[in-house]
Symmetry: D2
Subunit: 398 residues, 4 copies
């Protein structure tokens, strides 16, 4: 199985999935793009149940926990197909941040935590959120955190201010990154703690208006205040001070999910661009497709997407074979490289659509504004460039 | 007076205006960015009256019509200052498309048309819109129009479908581009016709959802159906078939207004970028401003903005001195060149802001999504590049 | 065997080859870069004999003809290692255009042609050249040729003007592309004909001065006049009119050789850049490697090279598996994509070297000037973008 | 007089100069590009005398010293016209580094120094060189110098190693930057000292091979060893320790000369690109000029050159009006901005020429390789970006 030639079984799955996306999900994009969640959500929940009944559920989770048991490489390919629509990952219950939370709970959860928090999450009965970023501290340096969890008896009392907590509205619980030992070494100060959202003191200030939209439910990002939120210490995930270690573990596979989702977006944008170029006439009998600049964009996009895709798939195979640590350079490289390709391809696709590209009649404008964050979240491009360059250059030092 | 050294009188005006923008308008950005038009509009109308009382009104209009009587070069400098906020042009009643409509009415309106349509527009009592773009026809070729105005007695009966008619919601009248003689030569087929919005058959389908937002009033773009709209032939502007000629005339000065507005946006974005770079710490005592990539962006943006600004000001001076026809290459060059700089500067400013740049706490995200259209409206970049290159290369042909 | 994980046997070969390049060839770069061919050539011929004795010979040729019998994918990997120095391909007798001429002779040569022309070429006893490009006709349209081969008895009489005939100086024969039937369909007008360089009328006008250098022998590009060059018709390769078909066949594998050679150049340039960044101090104790822009270049180059490399290797595997026709899109994509990466990486490496990068103390300046042609030869980038875009867009047409 | 509208007198001069360049100098490019200095130099010396007789001599020097007495802005415009050919500046005796050396001698020379060194330089009877860059120290940090001038009696004994000393071959004297007080503050360690090239111990190691060429005379860059070179202390320019201050003064005006020369190169490249686009057919009746990518390059180049040119002219006017210190941001901005435009325009012009662009039939390939140094000499782009960004960001700090 070479990088871009999956097994026959996998190819069959991808075909099934592509059909599911095309037939079941693309028709739902319109209410999503027009913020009509009241129309969207009941139908989308039906689609989730349909997906689950077809065995298209939890692709990133091992079979023993009810998932599809795919390798990271295979889940990457699934993520690519799902990425063709903003609804894809949610339909299979592998959307961020729930997918990552599931992985953390499986890896580090106690039996009680799994029973109470993981099982309903896997079943798609509840959603969760991940509360790390703080408005007062630069996300580019994740060791700077102000939110504190102070021990009081057998409880933690959590106080802090978070934002960009995706999907907090309607979530059953948050996994919160908080400082449990301010005197510890820089990377051992924080722990991850589960906070049910009905805990007194858990207060969603608002869904932050991001690129003009507050969104709803799983498609929103909340600002949250934790005002003396008291939870039992048994809600801590892993040993005290393990917060960053767990967060790092979470990132490697998550990076593959994201990057392959971006590749899926690129493919959809490429597809929309080519269709529009062929359909749109600039003069009678003369389509946009005959214009030199449009041809350039098609060719350049094709090359860039193909090359970026191979880079991500290689990273996935390397993680599968050697683990995330051995592949840490690859994981850094794909973050900024694919995000750059994504932005370029979306930009060209919009330009080919002209005024139509500015509207919400296609998902291009949605991705244009929200995936601008691809170069920011999980650490801005510059941090990844810096860190991978430091490692590479370090090997040249005597 | 060199290109970037305005007269002492002008410098005084620009200082006054900068203060007006800073003190009166910037505090209103928040309700604007959060779509809270109910809060915004009464205060903004007050600011308009204040501006008018200060003589800051209609900078693009001659003194005889109650304006400030500025040259195009001078109005360019005013437009730059106003461009620092999305509210600037509206506050002085020089927002698109009203500014252009005023110019057209002054140049081509009959005394009756001026009395009825121009005067209330100049006074800021009503708004207007300009209805040209059609969803079915590529805007890159403005001679392709389907909307028809058929003579019936002394009336035109107009039937057609338009979109991106900016500010139609709440406007008193539209100036509509419609084919009056389909058999005429390509550039003489269409005329501009005034259609009061209370004319039966004038039907706003909806404010088009653009980059996730439908907007409101002057800050919206409508899809409109003209269903047998009957208006007197005396509502035609200029001679029959003059539609394109008038539209062309409209573009030259309008291009300066837009480009200098974009420069104003660049300056504000640059300002926000530098402030954030200095304020935001990535580690204790270590600000973003010390990071190499950030320093690169600051330096490159400064050079690009300065150079682009001079290019626009030279074009303005050339139009003032020699007319728009003589300056048509310059007018094409600034369109795509400044739009490119604008996009690059906004992108960098957002990156420096990180997650904050994705929110609506600064105007960066608003401009990022809505000024994506800068490379599309008034003809996409590619059309301007093509047309100016054709003229230049034509001079090399034997 | 995934794309970038060659077989154990292949990995061993690549290690041997890397050592050969490092130990035997890199020390010879200095006389090459300083045009000291009198010093260089005798030693380089020794290295060729050494390579041959080690079985490092003709990697692109099947075992039955005395080559290493590698697949295209495998030869790509070899070409990458050889590409680390301008001397690599010549040392293994797989330099352009001899490598391509060998392939053409093997595929289309008669037994007599093979005996007389192929065998000494395979043995490295002679060199050859390929004479196609004409100064009077755009290389971007290879069907435009003026050189004519007119039948006279059982001979062809060839008249024409060629340039960029690489390695003509000192070559034993040229394969000339000439019009044999001007009345034929556009792609069937020309044939390839072998012209020994001692044929009367074969006249090298001069080695063209390319980027300031005329070069020598295999490292030169000649302007040639064919003045009534008479050769027997039995010197024609393949059937009459097959010239373009054969040229096309030649291109697919040749593209892989070139692109992997470019990747090899990128890797060497990357290596030089990192070494210099670590060695060079800008202030006491502060190396270039600590500068943000340098770190950016290292990270971006690493990502771009890796992605481009995978794209080429995939194309090679596809040609191996399905043939050049099935892979024609891939072959077009890698041409312009890798050439772009090559230019960017060389540019950054030079910038890191500062003044040193302008000198001939490293091979960077040599590649900077001569590999500028990578975006021109075998058809300029624009032609490849246009042709691949046309095919892609054609699939979207109804 | 606006930025790009010189006085009538100046316009006349520029026309005269343009004709001189076109009629007298362009015909000499061929021997220059083919390194045929033996043919070139006698004719070029005749052209120098012709220029001098026409009053086209020393444009950068005040009338009292026999120059044309132009402002910096005016000399910028002259430099642009001269820049259209690599021979332009030499023909008017305003080539680097002599032009800068003259300025330094005028400003800081003693009467004896002027008598002995300046007068023959102004007359064009001798050439000089400027010896600052050292191979062992990064040019990006000019305060790091190893060359030492030790006092011995009333002499300095200079020991050191320099390279990139332009025009040393055949020069009458060098101005050497050497450390006169290693214990002084960083910017006061060095002095400029005049060293006649016949001083014992002045040893040209070789003309460095730069981009494959060693050049000759004024068009070469030497590596020099100073082995106990003894010169009287009266050969020092200015007070001891003033070396950097004088070097800084030298840079401001020199930057304008360089940048306007680059603009001149851009204009010539643009001209060559357009001519070739119109002349070259890719198919019968179908010129390159009709291709979309070529049209894009023409339009983008035109905008970029115009904008960059205005930026330089504004900097020149600011230096003329307010002095170099007040304009130091502008001086930094134009360095990297114009160098970037230069490289982009040359690259496009070569691409339009195809194989011809790689040859020395046009000056494009010469500029492509030698003006790569534009982003390196006088401090690499990155240093200028860093320094201007630091100043800008410093103004935002509290």
């Amino acid at each position: 199985m070479t990088i871009d030639t999956p097994s026959a079984e996998m190819r069959l799955l991808l075909r099934t999935l592509a059909e599911f996306v095309r037939e079941e999900l693309l028709p739902l994009e319109r209410p999503f793009l027009y913020h009509d969640f009241d129309t969207l959500m009941p139908i989308l929940e039906d689609k989730r149940r349909l997906a689950q009944s077809l065995g298209l559920w939890l692709p990133q989770i091992s079979a023993e926990h009810g998932g599809m048991g795919l390798s990271l490489y295979e889940h990457g390919l699934v993520s690519e197909v799902l990425g063709r629509t903003p609804l894809g990952h949610y339909a299979l219950n592998c959307q961020a941040p729930d997918a990552g939370n599931m992985e953390v709970l499986i890896e580090h959860g106690t039996p009680e935590q799994k029973e109470r928090f993981l099982l309903p999450l896997l079943a798609g009965e509840v959603r969760s959120c991940f509360s790390m970023t703080e408005p007062e501290n630069a996300g580019s340096n994740p060791t700077r955190l102000s939110t504190a969890a102070v021990k009081d008896g057998d409880a933690y009392v959590i106080t802090g201010h978070k934002w960009f907590t995706t999907g907090a509205e309607g979530a059953a619980f948050a996994i919160v990154m908080a400082v449990t030992d301010p005197a510890a070494a820089r990377h051992q100060r924080a722990s991850m703690i589960i906070v049910p959202t009905d805990t007194p003191g858990f207060h969603i200030v608002e869904n932050t208006s991001v690129m003009g939209e507050r969104g709803r439910g799983w498609a929103s990002h909340a600002e949250i205040r934790y005002d003396d939120c008291r939870v039992p210490q048994s809600n801590r995930l892993g040993a005290e001070g393990m917060g960053f270690v767990i967060a790092q573990q979470r990132l490697g596979p998550g990076r593959i999910h994201h990057c392959m989702r971006w590749i899926g977006i690129c493919e959809r944008a490429f597809d929309l661009m080519c269709r529009q170029a062929v359909l749109r006439e600039v003069a009678p009998g003369r389509a946009l497709a005959e214009m030199g600049p449009v041809q350039n964009w098609v060719a350049e996009s094709r090359a860039e997407i193909d090359a970026a895709r191979l880079l991500v798939l290689r990273a996935a195979q390397r993680i599968d074979a050697e683990g995330a640590y051995a592949a840490r350079d690859d994981i850094a490289l794909i973050k900024f490289h694919v995000a750059g390709v994504l932005q370029a391809v979306l930009d060209r696709a919009i330009q080919v659509h002209g005024a139509l590209g500015m509207t919400d009649e296609t998902p291009l404008a949605f991705w244009y504004r929200h995936e601008r964050a691809a170069r920011i979240y999980d650490g801005p491009d510059e941090v990844h460039k810096w860190s991978v360059a430091k490692r590479i250059l370090g090997r040249y030092a005597l």
